[in-house]
Assembly symmetry: C2
Homo-oligomer: 324 residues x 2
């Protein structure tokens, strides 16, 4: 049941998760300057953000380190150089993709790392591998979350099985992920109910990671929040793959917990985000993303359309409508 | 209660209202070419749009016709030149503002006009004048709606009185208007309940006109739709004052009634909307509008910031936060 009466109050259990370096890194191949990353870190601390996702723990067997910035890999040396021991209230997180992470080697004991949280990203059909990664990270001392991606193209029965498997695992928090930005808030309510049943049964937290293909990332995030979802992903000005994510400035403008402070966020947008946009780094809502969202498709075709600088949106629609 | 189970079905009573010329006219002082207006009209007919709002019936005593395009005034001659007798299923509407319309003279009998619907826009405190305009238009044979503006800064008790007054009037449809883009979908649900009580008591329809200051115009529109609101305002690519409105392409992508057709809408965006944007006509979500939305303020300061080409968003925040 939505807590529609509590717009002026706040819930202590809510956590804001800044995913700018990780999902935003998909826009610029993780080529963030050290200055940018340090300033973002300081901003998050001042703003009262709870978690900062700093990138991926990607396999260097599968991805060439010469072709990506350092936050694709989150080497411990690189983490230490920027974050030191991280003696702040802001916790640090990295994402580990099923099948694209040498987690047994690259994720070290939490005692020896500045990272606090490992976020395992998986599809429904790779859930056993995801759980192996979760248990590995849990044994190494980390908090863990699991992002089940692309649920809008999965069968509800399969999602239920995945939730049962996660319920019985050591995972701390299960994420609802709208990979294609195709989910409407009304449907989000139902999905939250489905996830909440498993979460309450097994004592897990829930999270939400939304995409903005239909300009619904913020709406879906606060809809999920009203349904009891606590971990809320957002990025600065929505920086993220394709149409991007929930804007952290919108989210912090909405939340009522006085520990959150929008002012440093605004300053960072002026000093770092807007200049980056003016230099041509491109993300955010546009008509091509609406189409892939409505059609419940991966945004790849829309990203390609954007990168090519195409303007023939009608022809693009013709192309994608017949693709399957 | 929200009809969350009916996402695949559709409700025959839903009406899509294209407000591009009227709310979009606030962006370019109504200087639309005849070619643009004719193409928009043909597009709306093809797309299955139910109503097309073509502009204002503004007082020529108060506004200089040399300083605005013709759709600020909607002279009957100008209407006839473009729309003829309008022998289509698309109905035509014009807005009349309380205190800014010589309605007794400028609104003629419906028999002699191509217009079908007069939309009266009012504040809560000018409701008696609005009702005088509604009754005038009703007697002349028009369908009528009433947009109660700026309700997010009005007292709920006053809104209830206004709804009672409208309930007893001849108005056909009462509009929920989020003038400042400050209303969250959770609050929209409560507002819909308030309006629905009056609507059901007096047999009125409800409508929704949303602004996109917090990127919630589409979300609020479909939230209201799920709560039983039937008249849904939207504009092409959200063209409208400041942060703009609900995007008609998003709305038609969401609605399931097969009479709606997104394809001509896409074509119009490619041929007319995107070129207009490239020529420098500016509207749509940006950080400055988020702030006025969060602060529940008229967007004027944000519009001025935008027009001045300012980039000092932190200073802008400092300015508006201390304004009251």
């Amino acid at each position: 049941m939505k807590e529609i009466e509590k717009l002026i109050e706040f819930r202590e259990s809510i956590k804001v998760v800044d995913a700018t370096l990780r999902d935003g890194g998909l826009v610029n191949d993780f080529y963030f300057s050290d200055e940018f990353v340090k300033a973002l870190y300081k901003t998050n601390v001042k703003a009262g953000v709870d978690y900062m996702e700093i990138g991926y723990k990607a396999s260097k067997e599968m991805f060439d380190p010469d072709k990506f910035g350092k936050w694709k890999f989150c080497n411990e040396d690189d983490i230490n150089a920027i974050f030191g021991n991280n003696d702040t209230d802001l916790k640090l997180a990295a994402m580990a993709d099923v099948g694209r992470c040498d987690y047994k080697n690259d994720i070290i004991d939490r005692n020896n790392s500045a990272l606090d949280l490992i976020r395992v990203a998986t599809y429904v059909h790779t859930m056993p591998a995801a759980i192996d990664m979760i248990e590995d990270a849990h044994k190494k001392g980390y908090e863990t979350t699991c992002n089940i991606m692309a649920i809008s193209t999965a069968q509800e029965g399969d999602v239920k099985v995945a939730l049962e498997m996660l319920g019985k695992s050591s995972v701390d928090c299960i994420y609802i992920v709208d990979s294609y930005g195709s989910i409407y808030p009304e449907a989000m309510t139902r999905i939250c109910d489905l996830y909440m049943n498993a979460a309450e049964k097994y004592g897990k937290k829930l999270g939400i990671h939304a995409h903005n293909n239909q300009q619904l990332a913020f709406a879906n995030t606060i809809e999920a929040c009203a349904c009891g979802v606590d971990y809320l992903d957002a990025t600065y000005s929505g920086m993220g793959r394709g149409a991007g994510n929930c804007y952290i400035e919108s989210l912090v403008g909405f939340l009522r917990n006085p520990k959150y402070n929008i002012y440093p966020i605004i300053r960072f947008i002026e000093d770092y985000i807007n200049p980056m946009k003016e230099q041509g780094v491109t993300w955010g809502y546009d008509t091509q993303y609406l189409f892939t969202g409505v059609l419940n498709r991966h945004p790849k075709a829309a990203i390609d359309y954007t990168k090519a600088g195409r303007k023939d949106i009608t022809e693009f629609y013709n192309e994608i409508i017949v693709q399957d």
